[in-house]
């Protein structure tokens, strides 16, 4: 079942669209689920489908099409590192290697304590700050150096 909070959020989103176009809210609905649970299970997809009155498969199509939806548990904080051209030219390989040693996990993995997950991302449109990563798809961090990464992780550890 979708939590009351998620349902409230979806209902607010639905006001933006015509009454007979409820499926327009599917991407937001999936995002709300991920914000609360960290990932989207197939049960969640089927709940979203019945909430919006659309076929389950149509929700599944959307959820699997977009890269930023986590389709498996990804830890409390998910770091997504861009590995596209600009970031690669600016040394993202070193960033990734450093993150791997710090966290002990590779792409698509979660730390044993469930705190961190790491994913490989596509261009985030902030190439002037390359290399970049995002925290939970919400906060963008750029110009990554070892120090900057230590600082980011220290802050995340505190919260």
């Amino acid at each position: 079942m979708l939590s009351v909070h998620i349902q409230d959020q979806i209902n607010r989103e639905l006001k933006k669209y015509p009454v007979d176009q409820k499926q327009s809210a599917v991407m937001s609905a999936l995002r709300f689920v991920q914000d609360e649970k960290g990932w989207i299970s197939t049960e969640d997809m089927s709940d979203v489908a019945s909430f919006l009155g659309m076929p389950q498969m149509a929700v599944y199509e959307v959820a699997t099409f977009y890269h930023m939806y986590n389709l498996k548990p990804m830890g409390k904080t998910t770091l997504t590192v861009c590995t596209n051209l600009s970031c690669t030219l600016c040394g993202v390989e070193d960033t990734v290697a450093y993150l791997k040693t710090k966290l002990g996990i590779g792409f698509g993995e979660v730390t044993p304590d469930g705190k961190y997950g790491m994913r490989e991302g596509e261009c985030m449109g902030a190439c002037k700050d390359a290399p970049v990563l995002t925290i939970n798809n919400k906060k963008l961090c750029g110009r990554l150096t070892h120090d900057k990464i230590d600082q980011i992780l220290a802050e995340l550890d505190k919260s």
Binding site: T42, P55, Q56, M57, A58, Y60, E61, T64, F65
Partner: protein
């Protein structure tokens, strides 16, 4: 209209049509995969690229609107190069396993690659592999790697079947066709996806690896499974039917057939086929030759006629029998001197017998369903009973028509429903009276029926207003309304509603030949005399019964009553293609040919007579039933049975040009008494889609689908609470003298006080009528140990 030029040919095409449409009109073939005339345009395969003058690059013909003066070249250097390039891309990930592919020989990709592709591939890298998915018993996805992502199957689900069960998950080279978490594809039209698939990615599970397409001979036939009369191509190898596919007929089935039409052929090859005539002697079945069997039947019938009168002989036939069979059956019966012949096996209200000037029918052509703008469907399990008629209505609703529904079960119809009233069966009459009253008020006329005392409900008023605002209104009575104990009253009210809303009233026929059977005279009131109808000939049991294709425990309105009559009869003659329960009570079993092994005619619900030839020879010693009945009449020395072909039978019984005049839904002015409400729980019985006739009941793959799953007793949560039941509990269902234990399920699709329990299946065959009261008592409930003991006791008695 727009004038455009394709490959130098001038074509006139409608405004808004595409280059592809125009090419079809001009008779120019443009290669394509994702384009299908009945589906929306997706333009994703890019195979139909053509050169358009003044356009800088090749354009997809399927998605390019035709414009005045446009000049299109489909074979120019630019077009050919584009097509060849697309073909190379499509083949990159396509396995070249044609020699072991089921689609080989009838594959669009294979054909187009031959015509438009290069001779060899430059691609040497690894090919993509897609894992197979489980999507049910009918469609195999074992070779999903062959998929070229045309999405025809996805669009078919969304647009034609009305439910999106397949989708394209993931993206780019990882995209795959799949169902949601490997759920099964349950649409009653799903098999069409196999035809639509231009490659061998979706193949028929029952047919897989049984034959190559070029080994099969294709014979045209007509579906015996529902009243639409879908046109079929029966594919035969070594006298065995190996598959069935649609033959396009825009007026009837368009280019679709239902899964029932497609996969029921497995029943024809069932081990239960009756292949030799059999006679029961000293309670043992012995196989005999035809002359002996027919002699035996003739002697029996003559003896009973002499000793008890011909009126003691009765004949029952299913409406899946051909016109010729039904005509000869009634002719034989009337020649013996009995009018006791009927095909309306599941009906229970015969009070309009002889009042109509012709046979009840759809009231319009099937194709004109698409142009109705208002529908009122009364008492129908629409999708399951009439899959393709439902599909036509779905298309009409999509293009703006409004659909109103009055029924006892709120089944998912996969279309937008404007208004619906779901009530217990005994309330249906009242709902129609309410609609009639509201409609009379709306139209400011006096209601033709006394409805002064009726209080109109909100939904009835909404339905009336909806109908009143329509230009082409169709009022239809489904199987449920026809089987209803007050069927005539429902029909009468429906006709009055149709008159007030200046629409047409019609019936969705119950069987493939419901109209044909009526026109053949397989009803007791044809001519001057009137015999006993299907219920009356069981209520006052006869000494002899002739059963044509009938399995009384499954095909009758009240199987309990039917079985009692069969068991008490002196002689029961089964003309059947299968060995069935008749082995218990019959005296003679005569093997007859099912529809693929005989020639014949079906007259569908719109009155369209469609004759077909046998697709293969009869199995074993089975013979076409028209021949059996003719020879039986000859043995009985009856005059007028000198037929040498089924065509001569048809021509005697049917004037093809006068069918239209013999169709009539009109009921004369009638008076009805007050409705007596039913006390207690009421049964709502559907005949599950794969239990409707003898052939489909034996189709193994269909019997494994969810639609053929073991039956449940369904009641509302209110009744569940009242009876102290939990979903999944066992309940004892009692009707008449028998009871059966089944598991109960909760359903909010029903009206309170009703019990939905399927008929036409072995699990409920011992119960009584499809309508009326039914008793539920709890079993295995810890709260009522005393009751549970009683039930256990009665079980012991039964066994």
């Amino acid at each position: 209209m727009i004038n455009i030029e394709i490959d130098g040919k001038l074509v006139e095409t409608a405004k808004g049509s595409t280059v592809m449409d125009a090419a079809h009109k001009a008779g120019v073939y443009i290669p394509h995969f994702c384009y299908h005339k009945k589906l929306s345009i997706s333009a994703n395969c890019r195979m139909c690229l053509v050169e358009v003058e003044k356009a800088p690059k090749p354009l997809p013909a399927c998605a390019t609107p035709a414009a005045e003066g446009m000049k299109v070249h489909t074979h120019s250097e630019m077009a050919a190069k584009a097509q060849k390039g697309v073909m190379e891309f499509l083949l990159i990930n396509h396995p070249l396993d044609c020699p072991i592919c089921d689609q080989g020989g009838e594959c669009q990709l294979q054909d187009v690659a031959m015509g438009y592709g290069g001779g060899a591939s430059r691609y040497t890298e690894e090919k993509r592999v897609v894992s197979p998915k489980q999507i049910g018993e009918l469609i195999s996805t074992n070779e999903m790697s062959r998929c070229i992502q045309c999405t025809r199957c996805v669009r078919f689900g969304q647009e034609i079947a009305g439910v999106m069960e397949l989708g394209m998950a993931n993206r780019s080279e990882f995209s795959q066709i799949m169902s949601f978490v490997n759920s099964s594809v349950d649409s009653e039209l799903s098999g069409n996806m196999i035809d639509l698939c231009p490659v061998g990615a979706l193949t028929s599970k029952p047919f897989r690896y049984t034959a190559r397409s070029w080994e099969l001979s294709r014979r045209k036939s007509v579906s015996p499974h529902d009243s639409l009369g879908s046109n079929l191509a029966v594919h035969v190898k070594d006298s065995k039917v190996l598959r069935v596919v649609p033959v396009e007929n825009e007026q009837v089935n368009e280019c679709w057939i239902s899964d029932k039409d497609r996969f029921s052929y497995e029943g024809l090859n069932s081990a239960e086929r009756l292949t030799r005539p059999m006679i029961k002697q000293d309670n043992k079945w012995i196989e005999v030759d035809w002359p002996a069997a027919l002699e035996y039947v003739a002697n029996g019938l003559s003896q009973i006629t002499r000793s008890a009168g011909a009126n003691q002989i009765a004949a029952l036939a299913t409406p899946t029998s051909t016109f010729e069979e039904l005509y000869l059956l009634q002719k034989l019966m009337r020649a013996i001197g009995s009018d006791n012949v009927d095909y309306r096996l599941r009906q229970s209200d015969f009070s309009a017998d002889g009042m109509r000037a012709g046979s009840p029918w759809l009231g319009m052509s099937v194709a004109s369903l698409n142009s109705c703008d208002r529908f009122l469907v009364i008492g129908s399990f629409l999708r399951k009973d009439h899959p393709l008629i439902a599909q036509r209505i779905r298309q009409a609703v999509k293009s703006g028509a409004q659909f109103n529904f009055v029924h006892s079960s709120d089944d998912e119809l996969l279309m937008a429903v404007a208004n619906k009233e779901i009530v217990a069966p005994d309330q249906l009459v009242s709902v129609l009276e309410q609609i009639l009253k509201a409609l009379a008020i709306e139209k400011k006329v006096v209601a033709p029926v006394d409805v002064a005392s009726t209080t109109t409900g909100r939904v009835a008023i909404d339905i009336a207003k909806n109908l009143a605002s329509g230009k082409q209104v169709g009022i239809f009575l489904g199987n449920f309304a026809q089987q209803h104990p007050q069927a005539v009253r429902l029909a009468y009210l429906a006709e009055q509603i149709a008159i007030l809303s200046t629409g047409k009233v019609g019936y969705f026929g119950e069987g493939a030949n419901s109209v044909g059977a009526h026109l053949a005279g397989a009803v007791p009131f044809s001519g001057k005399h009137s015999g006993l109808n299907a219920t009356a000939m069981l209520e006052s049991p006869r000494k002899a019964y002739l059963l044509l294709n009938v399995e009384p425990e499954l095909d009758m309105h009240n199987p309990q009553l039917a079985m009692r009559a069969m068991k008490s009869a002196d002689m029961v003659v089964c003309l059947s293609a299968f060995k069935h329960q008749g082995l218990d009570y019959a005296d003679v079993m005569l093997p007859i040919a099912p529809f693929t092994e005989t020639s014949g005619t079906f007259i569908n619900t719109e009155g369209r007579a469609q004759s077909f030839k046998g697709a293969t020879k009869p199995l074993g010693e089975a013979r076409p039933a028209w021949k059996v009945l003719r020879v039986l009449a000859n043995v009985l020395d009856l005059p007028g049975f000198e037929f040498d072909s089924s065509e001569s039978v048809r021509d005697e019984g049917l004037d093809l040009s006068s069918i239209a005049e013999r169709l009539d839904n009109h009921l004369p002015l009638m008076k009805f008494s007050a409705v007596t409400p039913v006390l207690g729980m009421q049964r709502v019985a559907d005949v599950p889609i794969y239990a409707t006739d003898a052939v489909v009941r034996r189709a193994t793959a269909l019997q494994k689908t969810n639609d053929a799953a073991a039956p449940f007793v369904m009641i509302t949560s209110v009744d569940m609470h009242k009876l102290g039941l939990q979903p999944g509990d066992a309940v004892k269902v009692t009707q008449g003298s028998a009871c059966v234990e089944l598991s109960v399920r909760q359903s909010e699709q029903l009206a309170a006080g009703t019990v939905r329990l399927a008929a036409g299946i072995a699990e409920t065959a011992m119960l009584g009528a499809m309508f009326g009261t039914i008793e539920l008592t709890t079993v295995h409930s810890t709260k009522q140990p005393e009751h549970a003991r009683q039930v256990a006791g009665s079980n012991v008695e039964r066994t």
